[in-house]
């Protein structure tokens, strides 16, 4: 794909001019923009890019792309994207899903795509609500959440997408929030460059049915203190005054203020997204903005065998070893007899 590396694309090359029909103010608009920009930055040609989605508001996204696109059925886009990538491995594949599509009806396909480490980029737009069906709780809604199907509050615990991805032995996990366009572009581009299943959770606001669900995190005033932007190789520093840091505290993590209680910059952890163990990655991903800041950025990005590459390699090896040039030659090499 030499042409992909040398040709420069602009975000406009990845748009198709169709009117975007999400509600005004929906977080999906910003995510779409970030995706167009990330694709241009990565530089894979639009005709070598496929965007495959399930059902839900977020799954309308392929219709707004200038790439190959497939708007499929509820929950199945990870399986469809897996088959697509195996069949046409030269394509860069983006799979777009929401919290209901990806983790409820499509939960099985989600974990298995991650486990196989098929080389697709899995976007999970998490607004903690079913929007297209007008406001029911989702598998990421917090316990007690009141919705049309939980009028007295839910009595179940939510999935934390990162935990699920790590449980399925994920090799890449990143998080962004819809209002942080720079971080969104950064993690989307990193997901595209990662070989294997790249899970990107984007916290997204639904103006109509769940407005403000992420406000605790995304509020402009408090955001610097409640989030931390993790970058591989850099100190885990956050806060409005950039004076807070994450340190190891026994088996857990702790947020400290540098210069207070004897903590120094040397105590602050340096992020290592590439370390094979997911122990600390999981600790970081579980930070929720309360005691510890919510982590955004690339949390985990490790190399591991890639499913579709190994399938292709095995095909080539077995073809070479057996040396058949056609179905007939294969059959003739087996048990046969001749009638003259």
């Amino acid at each position: 794909m030499e042409e992909n590396i040398t040709t420069q694309y602009t975000p406009a090359d990845f748009k198709n001019g169709s009117p975007v029909r999400w509600c005004p103010g929906c977080g999906d608009h910003a995510i779409l923009n970030s995706l167009h920009k990330a694709m241009a930055a990565v530089g894979v040609a639009p005709h070598n890019t496929a965007v495959i989605s399930g059902i839900g508001c977020s799954s309308r996204l392929p219709y707004y792309m200038g790439t190959y696109g497939f708007h499929t059925i509820h929950g199945r886009s990870a399986a469809i994207a897996t088959g697509f990538k195996l069949a046409n491995p030269e394509m860069t594949v983006w799979q777009v899903s929401g919290d209901g599509d990806g983790l409820a009806i499509g939960g099985n396909h989600f974990i298995h795509a991650v486990r196989r480490n098929v080389d697709i980029n899995m976007l999970l737009l998490n607004n903690k609500i079913y929007g297209l069906t007008k406001g029911q709780y989702s598998p990421t809604s917090d316990r007690g959440f009141v919705s049309k199907t939980s009028p007295y509050g839910t009595t179940e615990d939510p999935f934390i997408p990162a935990e699920l991805a790590f449980g399925a032995r994920g090799t890449f996990f990143a998080r962004a929030i819809d209002v942080e366009l720079q971080v969104s572009q950064e993690v989307l581009a990193a997901a595209a460059r990662h070989k294997g299943a790249s899970v990107v959770e984007i916290l997204q606001n639904c103006m109509i049915y769940n407005n403000g669900i992420h406000n605790f995190i995304t509020d402009r005033e408090t955001r610097p203190d409640r989030t931390i932007h993790l970058v591989h190789g850099e100190k885990m520093i956050f806060g409005k005054d950039k004076n807070r840091g994450i340190v190891q505290d026994g088996f857990g993590l702790k947020a400290v203020t540098i210069g207070v209680d004897g903590w120094t910059i040397d105590d602050v952890l340096v992020h290592d997204a590439h370390t094979p163990s997911n122990f600390l990655h999981q600790q970081l991903a579980m930070m929720d903005g309360h005691e510890l800041p919510l982590a955004i950025g690339v949390i985990r990005d490790v190399e591991a065998p890639v499913y579709n590459e190994d399938v292709d390699r095995q095909v080539e090896e077995v073809k070479a070893a057996h040396g058949f040039d056609s179905l007939r030659s294969m059959i003739l090499a087996g048990e046969t007899w001749e009638v003259k």
Partner: protein
């Protein structure tokens, strides 16, 4: 020595091996079949095994059988067997009704007829033969004792020695039917290539069985099977599921599109996945997905990506795939769905045959959702029809459901290996060069077939999906008129396939005013029944439907020639209902069986006579 007076010359004989599911009956059945095919006999087999992998030893629930018919003009594994091998009392009890009486021979391992064996097999007296009312020659052979005696010096433990009992019986049957022992030994050598001690033991035991027959044969008939010359060519023994897998590969070669299978293990279809998993050596990508839905969905993804995409399953899996198939209908993508039918509903009879998924295949989806449906007629026809399913899917951009069944999927027969040029080139409906630039994703050719734009092609990036699309622009549309137009055009697309499939061929003897009609895997039994009825003075026309939706264009004309149309099928009348709805002017009679077993020729003939005498 061989008593010549007892040699029966025949053109067809049926043998059934039966024992515990761990006794290796399928193995000896397969070897016997291959040896027979190798000396020029036609063969047709029917493995009849229980759903339990290992039911309690010696129990009726654990009896596994393998029936093979060998000889000339063989179209079925036969109704009744001429020779029954029963490895224990339960096997004899379960299979006695399958033995020709009088005239048949039962060979039993008398060592497995002790009191405890009889009890396990739920006999109520101590004379099993009398209790079963057997009117057949019974050859009581101490198989266990003789096998252990033959292996006394082998150094094998008791358990390993007992595992060779089936091979003793194979030796005995080879003697009975005058089969060359060397060919059978060659199969064993291959099978146990990595276990020389086991091979040596089996080689010894097969000779012991053969010699035993030779030495004590006096009271039993032996058989010499005459064989006609078959069409010249190179042959192999093939079962329907393997033939299905290979037909798909041929279609891939003839279309130039790589073959992708997304599947999930399910009896009795798993062999297709297993065979295609081996065929990585031909570039096939066969993926075992996380569930049935992922099987069809990965195939749909592969189809969008430009592959010949297939999913394989049985009835319960087809139910799970329904929504996915609907997506392929809406997105107008080529997709081959293989349903190896088994007894239903629900889990039903997983290892038994039935034709009860016809309505599910035709109508089992939400919305107006027509797909093409085809059904192979025999194990070897699975090759042709898998090829045809692929050809129709690719040339008409539609899902095609192939309705195989457990009987032909597991059954086998000798198959002449075709040359590639015996099959036509498959022509994918690519976007024509003169449309490039102006092309829209739902543009169609004269047969209403959408064009296939392969991802990766510059200039053809497009979006499709499960939402209704505008006939012209391909954009999402909720227009009432447009929806109806799209429904009708998808329907017309399927109807037009009738112009691209062979005409229905019927066997039409002079004087026949009745036609016997079947579909799919019942071909052998129905054809044999019709031929025998004609020979016996009741001229009976016959046609087997292999293209079901759409039907061949001349179907109405052929069926309309007859006063009576008798539709015989292994369900309560699904094809009869389908044909009656399509052709209300026909007088359709029905023969139905829903026992998880194939038809017997005799019962079809009796049922036809009963209808004719009404």
């Amino acid at each position: 020595m061989l008593d010549k007076a007892n040699v029966i010359d025949t053109d067809k004989v049926v043998v059934r091996f039966s024992g515990d599911s761990g006794d290796g009956m399928q193995l000896v059945g397969n070897i016997f079949t291959n040896v027979s095919a190798g000396i020029g006999n036609q063969v047709s087999t029917f493995p009849d095994y229980p759903a339990e992998i290992r039911a309690p030893q010696g129990s009726l629930g654990g009896v596994s059988g393998f029936q093979v018919s060998i000889g000339n003009d063989v179209h079925t594994p036969g109704d009744l067997c001429d020779v029954l091998i029963a490895m224990n009392a339960a096997a004899l009890k379960a299979n006695a009704r399958n033995l020709r009486q009088p005239g048949g021979v039962a060979i039993v391992d008398i060592d497995s007829f002790k009191d405890s064996d009889l009890k396990k097999a739920e006999y109520t007296t101590d004379d099993p033969f009398k209790e079963l009312g057997l009117n057949a020659q019974v050859l009581e052979v101490p198989v266990t004792t003789l096998t252990k005696a033959a292996l006394a010096d082998s150094g094998l433990d008791n358990k390993s020695m007992l595992k060779c009992r089936n091979i003793f019986c194979l030796g005995l049957v080879c003697w009975l039917f005058d089969r060359p022992l060397e060919a059978a030994v060659n199969f064993l050598r291959k099978k146990f290539a990595k276990k020389p001690a086991i091979f040596a033991a089996n080689e010894k035991v097969i000779h012991a069985g053969y010699d035993y027959g030779h030495n004590i044969h006096a009271g039993v008939s032996t058989y010499r099977i005459e064989s006609e010359a078959a069409r010249p060519g190179v042959y192999t023994d093939i079962n329907g599921n393997t033939a299905t897998a290979w037909g798909l590969i041929m279609a891939s070669e003839k279309s130039g599109r790589p073959l992708f299978l997304g599947s999930y293990p399910i009896t009795p279809a798993t062999d297709i996945l297993q065979e295609l998993a081996k065929r990585k050596d031909l570039g096939v990508k066969a993926c075992q997905m996380e569930d049935e839905i992922a099987g069809v969905c990965s195939a749909i993804g592969a189809s969008f990506a430009g592959n010949l995409a297939v999913t394989s399953t049985s009835g319960p899996g087809l139910a799970l795939k329904s929504e996915g198939i609907g997506l392929a209908v809406m997105a107008e993508l080529p997709l081959v769905v293989i349903d190896v039918q088994r007894g239903g509903p629900s889990t039903g009879l997983p290892t038994k045959t039935e034709q009860t998924d016809l309505m599910q295949a035709l109508y089992g989806r939400n919305g107006e959702s027509p797909v093409a449906v085809v059904a192979p007629a025999s194990p070897t026809d699975c090759f042709t029809m898998a090829f045809e399913a692929s050809r129709i899917a690719i040339e008409h951009m539609t899902p095609v459901i192939l309705l195989s069944d457990a009987f032909i999927g597991n059954g086998s027969s000798a198959w002449r290996i075709p040359d590639a040029d015996e099959y036509p080139a498959i022509k994918p409906n690519y976007v024509p060069d003169d449309l490039a630039g102006s092309w829209k994703p739902y543009d169609r050719n004269d047969d209403q077939v959408r064009y296939w734009a392969i991802p990766g092609t510059p200039g053809l990036a497009h979006r499709i999906g499960g939402l209704e699309k505008d006939f012209v622009t391909g954009a999402i549309s909720t227009s009432p008129e447009n929806h109806e137009r799209m429904v009708m055009v998808r329907r017309e697309k399927i109807e037009r396939i009738a112009n691209n499939i062979p005409a229905l061929e019927a066997i039409e003897p002079q004087g026949a005013d009745t036609i016997l009609v079947g579909w799919g895997g019942t071909y052998g039994h129905l054809r044999t029944a019709a031929t025998e009825l004609t020979a016996e003075g009741t001229p009976m026309a016959f046609a087997q439907l292999r293209y079901i939706n759409p039907l061949p264009a001349n179907t109405r004309e052929i069926l309309g020639r007859y006063k009576r149309v008798i539709v015989a099928e292994l369900n309560t009348g699904m094809m009869a209902d389908y044909l009656q709805a399509k052709f209300p002017e026909l007088k359709i009679e029905r023969i139905n069986k829903i026992q998880g077993q194939p038809f017997k020729v005799s019962e079809v003939k009796d049922a036809v006579k009963a209808i004719l005498s009404k």
